[in-house]
Amino acid sequence: MATIIIDGQEIEIDDNERLNVIQAADRAGVAIPFYCWHPGLSVVASCRMCLVETGTKNKETGKIDMVPKLVPACQTPAKDGTVVVTNSDKVKAKQQFVQEGLLLDHPVDCPICDQAGECWLQDYYFNYGHQQRRADVRPFTSQRRDLGEHVTLFVDRCVMCSRCVRFTREISGGGELQVVNRGSHAEIDIFPGFPLDDKLSGNVNDLCPVGALCSKDFLYEQRTWFLEPHNSVCTRCSTGCSIQQHVNQNHLYRIQPRYNPNANDWWMCDIGRNENDHVHAPERLTSIKRRGDGGWEDLLWPQGLMAIHETLIATAKEQGGAKLAFVLSPFLTCEEAFLLASYARELAPETWLVLGKVPVTGEDEVFKSGFTIRAERCPNRKGIEEILKHFGGNTCDWAGLLTKVDSGELAAAYITGDYPDPWIDDAEAARFEKLAWLIVHDILPTPLARRARFVIPGACSAEKDGCYVNHAGLLQATEWGVRPPEGSHVDGQTFGDLLGRKGLYQAAAVIRELAHAVPFFARAAEGVPEAGLNLVTGTEQQPRTTALGTVTHPLPTFRSMAAPFLEVESTT
């Protein structure tokens, strides 16, 4: 064990832990302010906000030798015997000077700045700033300019922490951003004609501690203090990034990554971040419908579900369970898939359980840091497969289903969708016209839904509670951010109703049930921690939570949750 003394308080850290003084102080409950340091990026020690006094304690004599100069805490390793003072007058004076310097040319346009409310300059000003402005110089002003499809730069708000520059060099690897000019005229910029438009570009907006880099998709959409964070999981590819949905009044305004060492570290891609038009799409399915001879007819939920149930039972009884197929979309949560599969096998033990169409786009896109956007554009293929494996018997994949449909082996199919993008074309959908009964459970009016006899409106991933298993076997829990549109039900509720269960659907109860029923999910019996559970390897990292990381550290609410600076430790 190494002993570190922070402001007179002794803390112990393991010998094999490599922490800097900011992280060590955080363990002791002492907040050290910083701008340029980020645990996921290289250390430049240039903002100089984290200056502290350091020294070493002689183990034998107990004598403490302090270094006369201040040192940046981000660059100082916490070694055995390190003594750190963060609250001396000397430290405070220099922090004030840095804070004052950063505000020298800052326009202080907080009322029209998107970052207001989660701006580090604002927060630190109260704790570390001068209360009276000594500077009476006219700030440099410059205009905002676009750096890429999703990124815009308010030049004069920049504090030159160079996080964004390091991100493009070290994580995304494109190196599009750079510093141009010198001294206080230095600015972030792109090379003309080479915009920042790779698929990780949105992360620089999150990294920016001030309002300099803003998301063009979120610009002037909402004041940040109205936003309510919901911890969720991105469903856009099988990486399964941990995210936060930022919601106000049932409207999803923004998605940001949430730190998860097991899935995405601090980052996420622009696809998951921005392509969410389906959530509030006006064409969303909002009522349970039956197509009769006279066209579409809206039903009430109880009657509608009863009609579907009776149809399925009749088919199973008259033609045998093997004439029935239930398609489990890879966009269903594990709980939902478990309920639907249970329902299917309750109808008849030989019903076909089908893994829904797995959307694949191109090839895996791997970035410099190893961050990967997977070609498999769905969140839960692995989870569904494990559930199918558990139920066994008649199971197949989407291609197998199509063969069976074409050969006339099937009479009825219950197909779940919930795909955010168009997933089936007219020609493919037309093959299902052969079926006597086609029941489509989806969120958007697809060509398949138009050919269905029954349409059930589902919920998209933003509206679901539940768990997904990513490509590596990591089980993560997602939390709903918005409610489904009026008239729709979350899928789990619908399946519960079909099963004849009473009351409201509780994903947490179902995952316990699943954990007991299916050995693959056994570890989820005690609940799913924030960083998930790796069901394949049985081990994962869990971020250490300290008091500062969540409550009193002067990071704005979203920042502290979305990008905590906590170190991680391994647990099994």
Partner: protein
């Protein structure tokens, strides 16, 4: 002390002094031969260590000690960078050496590389020296043609390539890690230390960075020995003082009758330099102050001119140090407000913009000085300037490199040593507002050319 014989400038007045022929005629490359014939690397390092040769670039770090920091048994390659980015205002001694005796420098570099086992040396030359560029390159070509560079120099096992790299004219490239970054093709942002360049420098390999004038001293130390070298200069006064030995090129400029480069043993006083070599302050005027060693070292008032210009001297008079030993003389007509504004403007322009205190502090001080100059100064601005100067630099620990210390020292020295003049100026030019305590409206400054 016997009459001082010029050492580094012994050849510079000869016709064609930049050619190999002339350099050889005056005994050039004998030190190299001596080294290659019978000395090991360690012996060369020891010889330079014994001479207490301190770096001539500004910081005065002992050269032999720097060489001995290189990791032993490193598989290599090891690089040598020679700092010829001479951009400290008032300094032009490297230029003389490169233009008029480039072979002396190159011999020093070859010996230095032999001592440090570097097989590649880069000379980082500032862009504004075209003649230096041409003559150094010509000298390097001559060396290659005469087996003084390239493979198996003078038939020995030792091989060396020297590349002349031309910078793009930024002050910060003279900082050793800024130089290395620039050499690597990056933006010249100084690196955080540790690791020091001796452990991880250019291209992530052990690197030693030395000044041109330091390298020019090396052949003479080899030829004539450490005792000869230590017979010049000021001896060490204690364990914390490495002493100031050897000859030094002093640049003399400003308000002086005979500006130029003068070679003298370290420790000559500022007054002696000005009176004896420079012919006194020009136009029969009185002196007011002098910059002891490049603008970043601060100011010596006329009363302090008896300060010896060795590595320890200017520090005792409140300056930052000897720096590059470039003495700039200010006569009695110079306004200290103008002087300080000019100094602050330089550093605001040259700050690389990496560390907040330097980036903002230099630019802020420039704007305050511009305002004072424009007749909008207040007495409390002087406190602000002192506060800024105490808050920036590696001395208080708020920046990565020493540029901000260089910016702070003129502020400190000018305001502390000439406070009465600043106060008089502010009161005279801003009679209605000099005592004002409230913040000045920023808008008032529009139109003053202040931004």
């Amino acid at each position: 002390m016997a009459e001082f014989e010029p050492v580094l400038t012994a050849n510079v007045h000869k016709p064609d002094s930049h050619t190999l022929r002339v350099y050889r005629e005056s005994g050039g490359y004998t030190a190299l031969k001596k080294v290659l014939d019978g000395m090991s690397s360690a012996e060369v390092v020891d010889a330079v260590k014994a001479s207490n040769l301190r770096g001539r670039g500004g910081a005065g770090f002992p050269c032999g000690l720097k060489w001995s920091f290189l990791p032993k048994d490193h598989p290599g390659p090891v690089y040598m960078c020679v700092n010829a980015d001479e951009s400290e205002p008032g300094t032009f001694n490297n230029r003389l050496l490169m233009e008029d005796d480039p072979h002396q420098v190159i011999e020093g570099i070859i010996i230095g590389c032999y001592a440090t086992r570097a097989q590649t040396a880069y000379i980082y030359l500032r862009y504004e020296y075209p003649t230096s560029y041409n003559r150094l390159q010509a000298a390097i070509d001559e060396c290659y043609a005469n087996n003084l560079l390239g493979k198996n120099i003078l038939g020995s096992e030792f091989s060396l390539d020297i590349y002349l790299h031309r910078g793009a004219a930024a002050y910060i490239c003279g900082e050793e890690t800024g130089l290395i970054e620039s050499l690597e093709g990056k933006r010249a942002w100084p690196r955080i230390k540790p690791p020091f360049p001796a452990i991880e420098g250019a291209f992530r390999k052990p690197t030693v960075v030395n000044n041109i004038e330091t390298m020019a001293c090396v052949p003479h130390i080899i030829n004539r020995g450490a005792d000869w070298f230590k017979s010049m200069g000021v001896p060490s006064t204690g364990p914390r003082d490495a002493g100031s030995y050897g000859p030094k090129l002093y640049c003399l400029s400003g308000h002086i009758e005979k500006p130029g480069i003068y070679e003298a043993p370290l420790g000559i006083t500022c007054r002696e330099l000005i009176e004896k070599f420079g012919g006194g302050v020009w136009k029969g005027r009185k002196g007011k102050a002098a910059i002891p060693g490049g603008i970043s070292m601060g100011l010596l008032t006329e009363a302090e001119w008896d300060t010896p210009l060795d590595f320890a001297g200017p520090g005792k008079a409140g300056c930052l140090g000897l720096g590059t030993a470039a003495v700039v003389v200010l006569d009695e007509t110079v306004s200290m407000v103008d002087f300080l504004h000019n100094s602050c403007r330089f550093f605001a322009h040259e700050s690389c913009g990496q560390c907040t205190p330097c980036r903002e502090g230099t630019s802020w001080s420039e704007r305050i000085l511009a305002r004072i100059k424009a007749g909008k100064g207040r007495l409390k601005d002087l406190e602000l300037i002192l506060n800024i100067s105490a808050s920036i630099g590696i001395m208080p620990g708020t920046t990565i490199c020493g540029l901000a210390d260089g910016a702070a020292w003129p502020m400190k020295n000018a305001v502390n040593k000439f406070r009465a003049e600043f106060e008089e100026y502010i009161k005279r030019t801003n009679p209605s507002g000099y005592a004002q305590e409230d913040a000045v409206e920023a808008l008032e400054l529009v139109g003053l050319g202040v931004h």
